[in-house]
Symmetry: C2
Subunit: 148 residues, 2 copies
Amino acid sequence: MENKRELFQVLTRRFGLLNKNCCSVGTVDISLVQSHILYEIDKQITPSMQQIAETIAMDITTFSRQIQTLIKMDLVKKTPSAADKRVYLLSLTVQGKFVATTIDVSMNEYLEEVFSHMNEFEKETVIRSIKLLNQAMSKSSVCCTPLI
Amino acid sequence: MENKRELFQVLTRRFGLLNKNCCSVGTVDISLVQSHILYEIDKQITPSMQQIAETIAMDITTFSRQIQTLIKMDLVKKTPSAADKRVYLLSLTVQGKFVATTIDVSMNEYLEEVFSHMNEFEKETVIRSIKLLNQAMSKSSVCCTPLI
DNA sequence: ATATATTACTTGCAAAATACAATTAATGAG
DNA sequence: CTCATTAATTGTATTTTGCAAGTAATATAT
């Protein structure tokens, strides 16, 4: 049988490496987590702080400070919710949108390049496999209880 | 067409989450990077500091300090190389080996559980796909130059 | 062989990231 | 109206990080 962990370890390390080095856009330099935050704000529709923090599994206090930094960098905007005054809705500024988009384009370009080493059939198989994996993982129950 | 980045982002986030929460073995609590370090020391044969640091793409100074911590925790051993006195060879202590093995077993159990949601054919397809991906990524050249 | 460069690793900082506890303010439930 | 809950922030302390500068050993060049 295969050592599945080995395969995943290598895969995620490579992908992590990619992410890591790809976060400077022009004069703007952001960290990996910050790029994840931008990505999620861009993806969700007027999310609250809690929502994003939960999605990327980040402690809310750390997240709060990261958002403060991103606001100072003029990449993120925080708007008080009309419906619930405790809540702040997050959105990207024009510059934030630009940064997020640039990173996204470049990531997809990189992935295209990776996939260019495969034939059409392999490409489709791989894509379908990742979808399968994502589904299987979301179904899984045994996640992350402390060992022993 | 697919949004490949989206697929990868979800996949690696899930896998990262898994890794994150699965690093306490008995009374020993280690961080994600520390578990990666143990994993690589276990895998390679008497590696040097440089070798491991490079494999997991970690700054050597940060790595040096992490090793100091792991030695204090009695998980890692540092032996001066006879061939080159600048070099230290890394190995796991008995306890370190136990921790690494326990984490590995549990990770593979989790992955088995994930794969249990697929049929035999899907399993094989997915495994083959990840191998393909890893190969393609290692072939790729366009990694990680700063954008714009 | 001897000076010089390179390599492996360590320490001195200073900045950034993290998370627990406690706080403020707003909302919901009884 | 009161009390519990929720969203978000701040206080504080720890950990992680990485550049710059250092030490010691090896390799290279003259």
